[in-house]
Symmetry: C2
Subunit: 129 residues, 2 copies
DNA sequence: TTGCTCCTCACGTCACGTGAGGTGGC
DNA sequence: TTGCTCCTCACGTCACGTGAGGTGGC
C-alpha cells in the first residue's frame, strides 16, 4: 500500500471503510451498542491502532444484526444465525430454520394481541376522563 | 383475637387473607416477582412471623400493578400512579393523567407498527423457503 | 490551545431468574 | 421422617446507558 493510500481513521469515509461513528449515524445506534456487538462476537472490524475500521461486509453484517433484533431475536440467536451461514464468509441473509420462523411468529403475534389489548384499555381510559 | 381465630399461614386461604403462593397462582406470577414488588415499595403485606399475608386490598393492588405492566408502564411509574391515589387508602384504579395516557398510547402504537413490520418480514421469509 | 472523534475500563439499570441454605406445620 | 410452602441472601441475565479519564489529528 502506497503512502498516498493512507487515511485519517476518524474521517475515513472516502474509501470503502467506515468509522464507528459513520455506522452509528447510518443505522441510528450508539457507539456503545456497536462495541457491545463486537464484545459478543458478532462484529470483527479491523483496527487502525486502537480505532475500529468497518468494511463494507462489516456494515452489511450490522444490517443483518439489526434486522434480527427487529424481528425480536436475542443477540445470541442472531449470532448463531450469522455463524451458520457460509462460515467465515460474509452472509447475505440471516439463516433461520422454518421452526425458528414459526416459533418467532407465534411469539410476535401473541405480543401484538397483548399490545392490542393494552391500546384498547388505554383508549377506554382516555374516554373515561 | 381469640385462639379459635388462629390460622396456619401456609394454608390461610380460608379467611380474607392470602399467602404469597395463593396470589402467585391466581395472577400467574412468581413468588420472586411478588417479593420484588414489595422491595420496590408497591406492596406491603402484613407478616405472620416471617411469612407474608396479603389482604384483599393487597390483592387488588397487585391486580392494578399487573394492569399497569400490561399497558407498558415501568414499575416506577406504576408505583407513582398507586401513590397519587387517595394516599394511604386502597386505590381502585391506576391514576394516570391525560398526558401519560396519550404518550403511552403513542409508544404502544409505534410498537405495534414495528411488530407488524417484523411479522410481515418473517412471513415473507417463510414463503421464501 | 480548542474541538471533535475515538478509546478502555467499569459500575449502573430494568425486572426479575436462579440457586444456596434454612425454617415451620401437616 | 418425608413433603410442601415459606423465608433470606446474593449473584446472574439481557442489552445496553453512563460517566471517568485519556488519546490523536485537524
Amino acid at each position: 500500500m502506497s503512502a498516498a493510500a493512507e487515511m485519517h481513521p476518524a474521517t475515513a469515509a472516502s474509501d470503502n471503510s467506515y468509522t464507528i461513528g459513520d455506522l452509528a449515524r447510518e443505522y441510528d445506534v450508539t457507539l456503545r451498542a456497536l462495541r457491545f456487538y463486537e464484545a459478543r462476537g458478532m462484529l470483527r472490524p479491523r483496527r487502525s491502532g486502537l480505532t475500529r475500521l468497518y468494511s463494507e461486509s462489516d456494515r452489511k453484517r450490522l444490517g443483518l444484526i439489526l434486522k434480527g433484533k427487529q424481528m425480536g431475536f436475542t443477540l445470541q440467536e442472531i449470532r448463531a444465525m450469522l455463524a451458520s451461514e457460509g462460515n467465515s464468509n460474509q452472509p447475505a441473509e440471516l439463516k433461520l430454520t422454518k421452526t425458528q420462523i414459526d416459533e418467532q411468529l407465534e411469539v410476535l403475534v401473541r405480543q401484538r394481541a397483548d399490545l392490542d389489548t393494552a391500546i384498547a384499555e388505554l383508549r377506554a381510559k382516555r374516554e373515561h376522563l
